[in-house]
């Protein structure tokens, strides 16, 4: 006898269980704790604790340093997202046209993907070190008065450069596979109608890459917000003058270094809400323009 078509088997639940448990333990539980802690004022050792409602939030929002951190985070994520998507698209288009040694190019462009952000930060920190850094010497030798330990704009340049470099590879992989899935018949038809390669790219190829670009826009924004911590910690430590402090870095400074758990929890809840809103916005307004 066959089983009832609407009666589900319990086997799939077993297969998804490990993933669900991991999310519960490592994401939902700590996130819940952060939400709870953000409403309390508590000493670091948990010996005295007082419910204060939204006071921690009010104090964070009242801090002028927090406003400048929000502005820098927006600027930083915009720069990182735009440059890493634009450059990797350019590289993917070029690599897609290479006939000889294509695999070598592809491999070389992909392998920075294996580098963890802190390692990228360490390498970048050495390249820009005022005492031994080659890039630092180069920039100063060609006439720039470059000093990222003193000048905010130079420091922003350094962290954006490293963050973009680190992210290029993964974007490149997605764009390249996107380009390879563009049907040849479409391209050939386009070639007959339109002789200009650049125009052909923007009218035919790029719209076909739109779903990939949109996906990369979402993951690059999240990357700039959350995963660039190691780069910042190992190059500028949020300086000079607080000019490269992102929201995540400030949470680390106040909570991890400064032992202010209530305040940093409030900041992380706000960050969480902010990123959710941003992602919803991206899906709502940009997703409409994307043709799948």
């Amino acid at each position: 006898m066959q089983s009832h078509p609407f009666k589900h088997s319990w086997v799939p639940y077993i297969f998804v269980a490990p993933q669900i448990i991991i999310i519960l333990i490592f994401f939902l539980w700590p996130a819940g704790q952060a939400v709870q802690q953000s409403f309390y004022r508590e000493d670091a050792f948990g010996l005295s604790s007082e419910f204060v409602g939204f006071l921690n939030y009010a104090e964070v929002l009242d801090d002028p340093e927090y406003t400048s951190t929000v502005l820098f985070t927006l600027l930083f994520s915009a720069l990182v997202t735009v440059f890493s998507i634009a450059l990797s698209l350019l590289l993917a288009v070029q690599a897609n046209q290479v006939i000889r040694g294509a695999d070598t190019y592809k491999t070389l462009l992909m392998w920075a993907y294996a580098i963890a952000p802190p390692a990228a930060g360490l390498i970048g920190g050495l390249l820009f070190s005022p005492l031994v850094g080659d890039l630092y010497q180069l920039l100063n030798n060609i006439g720039f008065d470059f000093n990222h330990n003193r000048n905010s704009s130079d420091a922003i340049f350094v962290v954006v450069l490293i963050a973009v470099w680190k992210q290029l590879s993964i974007n490149f992989i997605f764009f390249l596979s996107g380009l390879q899935s563009v049907p040849n018949s479409v391209l050939e038809a386009a070639r007959i109608d339109c002789p200009g390669a650049i125009k052909r790219f923007w009218t035919i190829t790029f719209p076909l890459l739109a779903p990939t670009t949109f996906f990369l826009l979402v993951i690059n924004t999240t990357y700039a917000f959350f995963e660039t911590f190691g780069i910042i910690d190992l190059t500028t430590k949020g300086g000079p003058g607080g000019s490269t402090t992102t929201l995540v870095y400030k949470i680390y400074q106040d909570g991890f270094l400064g032992a202010d758990f209530g305040g940093s929890s409030a900041q992380s809840v706000m960050l969480m809400v902010f990123v959710v809103v941003l992602t919803v916005f991206q899906f709502k307004f940009i997703d409409k323009k994307v043709h799948y």
Binding site: R41, E42, D43, A44, F45, G46, L47, S48, E59, D63, E65, S129, P130, L131, N149, R150, N151, S152, K237, G239, P240, G241, G242, Q253, D254, F256, L257, G258, A259, D260, G262, G263
Partner: protein
């Protein structure tokens, strides 16, 4: 059969009692010392374990100062705290003001029947980790103080006989050093050297409420004319090319001195061992300069570094072991070893005497400069400070000094911002730790 059974019980009983007799109490010690200093912690802990058989202390490195403190906080909250933890100067207020988190060292020693006399400790060290009544809460461990290191060859080349004792003297020699091709000065920690110790050296209060010892309801006093004058001078020196700022990393500013770009460097009394290894020129060590227009006779400086605290919630027997370790640690022989090998100052008078008797300072005169500076006359405001969220306040200092040096902001507005941000943090700390 029966006899075998009885024998077995007897043997088992004997074994059990012999285990009980030799039961070793396990103690843990979390610290932040790496490299050479970490090796010396291991050496001292091993010596302690070999010196007696009742306790076995295990020392574990938990990363940097902040990592160690955060690990300690997490362990305490999980009721799994180590017996001893090393906490740095800026974090001291957090652990001391959390009521019931630690067993004050002085009580711990006295309750365990160990003799304790705070006059055994150097005057500059005695009060830094004490409460407002002078009771020692933490045991000073790695203590250092800011000193001026100078490149003797550079000074000779510029025709300068003596390193500067005052900032006025510095201003007269800085142009000569510049003419000789050197940046005159760099320093490695502007909150510690050019803020906190600026106040102890010139006998100025840093905060209300007796520098924060009496209460947590305090206000910062950094926005004062003396410190503002100093920083407007520092900015002038930077613009003139007398002062080099190589970023906020300690090592980058030290490296500029080691590489001979900078003629004089303000660092820690614990730096000379490392400088000896890395420099290829002869250098000298002297006291932290002061402004003679602010004070005639400079006062002693603060110590920096960290102290050992004992968490509450352990058994009486375990605290006895902790007391034994503290006694071992503060013995003149251990202190001398620590002082000699790491460059941190010896914290007791007996250890200082022993160092003099064993001619340590004849071999290494630089090692004594920090001891002498800490033994200078102490002023009303040179015993220390106790300020909450001080890690964040230091961050605010770093940040605003960098804005000041890059010309983004004026001296007045930088210190106004420091005052606002510090007082906001102190208010928050007071509301949390009341």
């Amino acid at each position: 059969m029966k006899t075998t059974f009885l024998k077995a019980i007897a043997v088992a009983g004997l074994t059990a009692s012999s285990i009980a007799a030799h039961a070793v109490t396990e103690l843990t010690f979390w610290h932040a010392m790496a490299g050479r200093n970490g090796e010396m912690v291991t050496t001292i802990v091993n010596q302690f374990n070999e010196s007696q058989s009742e306790y076995r202390l295990t020392a574990i490195n938990k990363g940097g100062y902040e990592d160690t403190m955060t690990a300690g906080i997490a362990a305490f909250r999980a009721r799994n705290a180590p017996h001893i933890i090393q906490v740095f100067d800026a974090g001291a207020a957090t652990i001391i003001n959390a009521k019931g988190a630690v067993y004050p060292v002085q009580d711990l020693l006295e309750d365990s029947g160990a003799a304790f006399d705070k006059n055994d400790y150097l005057s500059g060290v005695r009060y830094f980790y004490a409460d407002s009544d002078g009771k020692m809460i933490g045991m000073p461990f790695n203590s250092s103080t800011p000193l001026l290191y100078y490149n003797k060859e550079a000074l000779k080349k510029a025709g300068i006989a003596e390193p500067p004792a005052t900032w006025e003297e510095f201003e007269t020699i800085a142009p000569k050093l510049k003419a000789a091709g050197y940046t005159a000065l760099s320093q490695s920690h502007s909150p510690w050297i050019f803020s906190e110790n600026f106040h102890s050296r010139h006998n100025l209060p840093m905060a209300t409420g007796n520098n924060g010892y009496d209460t947590t309801d305090v206000k910062i006093l950094y926005n004062n004319d003396a410190l503002k004058m100093h920083w407007s001078k520092v900015k002038d020196w930077l613009d003139e090319g007398y002062y080099g700022y190589y970023g906020r990393n300690w090592g980058d500013n030290q490296d500029a001195f080691v590489q001979g770009k900078v003629a004089m460097w303000l660092g820690s009394s614990g730096s000379f061992g490392n400088l000896k290894q890395t420099t290829d020129f002869e250098f000298g060590t002297t006291f932290l300069p002061y402004w003679s227009n602010l004070i005639d006779e400079p006062k002693s400086t603060f110590i920096g570094g960290a102290a050992l605290f004992s968490f509450s919630g352990h058994s009486k027997d375990e605290y006895k072991g902790v007391a034994e370790f503290f006694k071992f640690l503060t013995s003149p022989e251990t202190q001398l070893l620590w002082h000699k090998e790491t460059g941190y100052v010896a914290i007791t008078n007996a250890a200082y005497d022993l160092a003099q008797k064993t001619n340590l300072y004849k071999e290494m005169p630089d090692a004594e400069v920090g001891m002498l500076q800490l033994s200078q006359e102490s002023g009303e405001w040179s015993k220390g400070y106790r300020l909450g969220y001080y890690v964040q306040i230091r961050e605010s200092l770093f940040k605003n000094y960098e804005r000041l040096l890059s010309g983004q902001t004026s001296v007045d507005s930088a210190f106004h911002a420091i005052e606002q941000e510090s007082n906001r943090l102190l208010r928050r700390f007071n509301a949390t730790y009341k």
